[in-house]
Symmetry: C2
């Protein structure tokens, strides 16, 4: 497509460089920004500049933060001796949204994946081990994705911590709430039988 304006074309190219946004959508967004009367474009530019220049990474858990230490790590109402280990911010936010967890987090930045060239040295594993040792952590909840790479990562971390007293757990895996058994994959279903939990008449497990 030929654009009538170089400036418009540059904007379309820049917007279309974002993941999941094609050139038609980028054009629609650029035209929307040109025509918008509510200074949306200025607000967007301002927010992106702030994101570029002011955002920090928490020195403890690696979460994006406004300060050197994030609000979660700095909170006085959270349980400081439990760390939930996640791959990335999105997983952390998903767990926060459940409102079922009140400890701290540690973002690994991914999982060990030899096929993708990601080794332990590319992840925040070293700093996790340091935290466990220096912060008197009692439990590590490994909330990484239930894949071979995730399992490898859990195994690797557990080996490094073999001589410490920290308890390592993984989040429960099994069939989804509301899911139908016949559509669960055999690996998940097999594991959910092996990891069966006692039934209590008065409540959930």
């Amino acid at each position: 497509m030929n654009y009538p304006s170089k400036i418009l074309e540059q904007a379309v190219n820049a917007i279309a460089s974002l993941p999941g946004i094609g050139r038609k959508t980028a054009l629609r967004l650029a035209l929307h920004l040109i025509q918008d009367q509510n200074h949306k474009s200025e607000i967007l530019v301002d927010a992106l500049v702030q994101l570029n220049t002011k955002i920090k990474q928490c020195k403890r858990c690696n979460l994006v933060a406004d300060n050197d230490i994030c609000d979660i790590c700095a909170s006085t109402s959270r349980h400081k001796r439990v760390i939930c280990v996640v791959e990335n911010l999105r997983d952390l936010l998903a767990i926060e949204d459940t409102q079922q967890y009140n400890g701290l987090y540690h973002i690994l930045g991914g999982v060990i994946s030899p096929i993708n060239g990601i080794g332990p040295e590319n992840l925040y594993i070293e700093s996790l081990i340091q935290r466990v040792k220096s912060e008197g952590v009692e439990e590590l909840i490994m909330a990484v994705s239930p894949t071979i790479d995730g399992e490898t990562t859990i195994f690797y971390i557990s080996k490094l911590l073999a001589d410490s007293n920290v308890k390592i757990s993984t989040i429960a895996r099994g069939v989804s709430f509301g899911g139908e058994l016949e559509y669960a994959d055999e690996f998940t279903l097999g594991r959910s039988i092996l990891s069966r939990t006692p039934y209590h008449q008065n409540g959930s497990n």
Copy 2:
């Protein structure tokens, strides 16, 4: 969803204010921009600032342009006495992409739509009439959407130009190329029968 950072939250809000982008997509894009190593965010900000501050509107046809007169109006190789009247830039680009048209354009900015409170005074109709009179235009091709509002707009413009010699045509309406008759709506099919064209053995109509 609670965001761990005000700066991130502002960026997500600003991105999610764009049409067709929800908060989950906005978060994904914001995190992509934070993590990107290729200065994508700086390039995007720069392109948006240029879009905000430098983009112009062609004084003749209302197309977005880098200069006071757009490249199409300024071109010496285009037919100057034919104007194709379109609602917006996207329709113009769609016509340009067909490579079947080599005249000028005039962007109306919409169509007359009493139900949406859009009257002739909200559109670039006045300037179209001026152009027809001052530029010696021989033909106006009305390429507005085939709706009641579009028809109203064509009728309104044709009335204003009743005393001029300009020839007014509309783009052909009928069943789409490759479309199946049984799925065409009855209005389109009825019209395509009324507007039937003579068949020439040696070429298309």
